[in-house]
Amino acid sequence: MIAWNEEKCAGCGICVLYCPVDALKSLGAIEVEADKCNDCLACIDACPEDALEEGK
């Protein structure tokens, strides 16, 4: 499961575009759909601001 850090996020929305299973949504805040996320971490690699991390 991916955790989103609002303070670090700059709102670029690149994580949403790089998610291969469509688990992320950008609606102002970044929302992660837990049942879709397969922990591939593509969003973490693509985030320019280190605003996403592996949550518990």
């Binding site: 929305g13 949403v16 609606l27």
Partner: protein, 438 residues
């Protein structure tokens, strides 16, 4: 550690970085561009999202600025100029903006003014500021305008224009910078158009040109550190495919924003005065919403400009000019909005609610027929600009051989992507006088 030698090292592949690298390659400098993201372009990239081509930032270009650069470095450039009708919604009524000729501003102020005397008073003040004495930078455009009018429709028209041009509020822009921009505007080009496949076509074409001239562009390759010796930049350590590589270069040109540049070189190398200015730089935020629909929702070829809405200042259907940007039969539209303030913290939820309320109020059938693709509150480093207009940094840093480029380092009066192009041009002009290709 593996070591490589280049004449010039560019960190970041946004417009400032690719402008610099393409002009340097053309001038014969062996140039390397490193980009930490998996794609080139930064805020000038286009991504496919379920068949829709969404821009990370840049939407429109001019032939005089972007086209001239591409021709100079041998990059493809195909600008689609449309016959868009800009429509200002004032007091609930739509007024088309005259497409050309003198007196556009006068005509539009006339629509919003409550009397001819009010319009004349403001126009005279604008003329005097342009032709005789502009106001200083120590007070805002809002304060300057309110000397002549408090009419919300007129203030809204200026707010609409500033939001589109620089993502800033009337109350945040130094009045002097507004008139500086109005004077410089012709140099950036007045005729704007679209790149058919999205804004990212610009940096994609520049990257191809850099490579075709013998330069290298590495994506997914973060710079870990800018290296220096005795206050002189010597290159950088970068990470490529799990390996650290030391790049030696005569000069380093950083397109990562001034604060990140300081971080990469080491804060203790910079004098406090420079750091004070660098940390004053703050991104100009903007909310961008992309939505799709099966039937037309916005008048064809119109750009609707709202002057009295809560947040949204502009919306249009991108696929009218560029049907390539959506799957067949689908429309792609975009709306842009300012925020309550350009200073954090931002209330993301509240901002988005206001944007949606504006779209519902202004676009009949929005709730029923529009499907939202993304809503982004672009802010900080990913704002419309990396700095508020009027608060730019010089391209030269206190470290010899370390330059910064981007829209946060443009000349006074230059905003957005033309500012980034111009920062790159200025750096290259300086480089050719100081360094020789090996």
């Amino acid at each position: 550690m593996k070591k490589l030698q280049y004449d010039m090292l560019v960190i970041g592949s946004g417009i400032g970085g690719t402008t610099s690298a393409s002009l340097l390659s053309k001038a014969g400098y062996k140039t390397l561009v490193v980009e930490k993201l998996p794609f080139a372009g930064g805020r000038c990239a286009t991504h496919d999202y379920h068949g829709y081509k969404l821009n990370t930032g840049l939407n429109t270009v001019t032939d005089d600025c972007h086209g001239a650069l591409c021709r100079e470095v041998g990059a493809e450039f195909e600008m689609r100029v449309t016959d868009n009708q800009w429509v200002y919604r004032i007091h609930g009524q739509d007024y088309p903006q005259p497409k050309s000729g003198k007196g556009i501003l006068k005509t539009m102020i006339g629509h919003a003014a409550t009397s001819e005397a009010e319009a004349d008073r403001l126009m005279l003040a604008i003329k005097r500021a342009m032709a005789w004495a502009p106001p200083s930078y120590s007070w805002s455009l809002d304060e300057w305008l309110r000397q002549y009018t408090t009419n919300p429709a007129i203030l809204g028209m200026f707010q609409n224009y500033l939001a589109a041009a620089g993502a800033i509020r009337n109350s945040e822009l130094p009045a002097g910078e507004y008139f500086r921009m109005m004077k410089e505007i012709d140099a950036s080009g007045r005729i704007w158009g679209y790149l058919p496949g999205g804004g990212g076509q610009l940096t994609d074409a520049l990257v191809r040109a850099i490579r075709s001239m013998g330069g290298d562009v590495w994506t997914g390759c973060p710079a870990l550190k800018i290296t220096t010796r005795d206050g002189v930049a010597t290159g950088a350590v970068v990470r490529k495919g799990g390996e650290s590589i030391e790049i030696a270069a005569q000069a380093v040109i950083c397109n990562a924003g001034v604060k990140k540049t300081v971080g990469l070189a080491g804060k203790d190398l910079f004098p406090p005065g420079y750091l004070k200015d660098a940390y004053t730089v703050k991104g100009a935020p903007q909310t961008i919403i992309y939505f799709t629909h099966d039937r037309p929702l916005i008048e064809a070829d119109s750009v609707i400009c709202l002057t009295e809405a809560r947040r949204v200042f502009m919306y249009s259907t991108n696929t009218n000019a560029c049907p390539e940007r959506a799957p067949r039969g689908k429309h792609l539209s975009g709306a842009a909005a300012y925020l309550e303030s350009s200073l954090p913290p931002f209330n993301l939820k509240g901002e988005v609610e206001m944007v949606l309320a504006d779209l519902r109020d202004n676009i009949p059938g929005f709730d029923k027929y529009a499907r939202i693709l993304t809503i982004r509150v672009n802010r900080e480093e990913w704002g419309l600009m990396k700095t508020w207009p009027g608060f730019t940094m010089p391209v030269k840093t206190p470290i010899l051989g370390l330059y910064t480029v981007g829209d946060d380092c443009g000349p006074p009066g230059w905003w957005c992507s033309p500012a980034a192009v111009q920062s790159g041009r200025r750096v290259v002009e300086d480089v050719v006088h100081r360094y020789r290709p090996a």
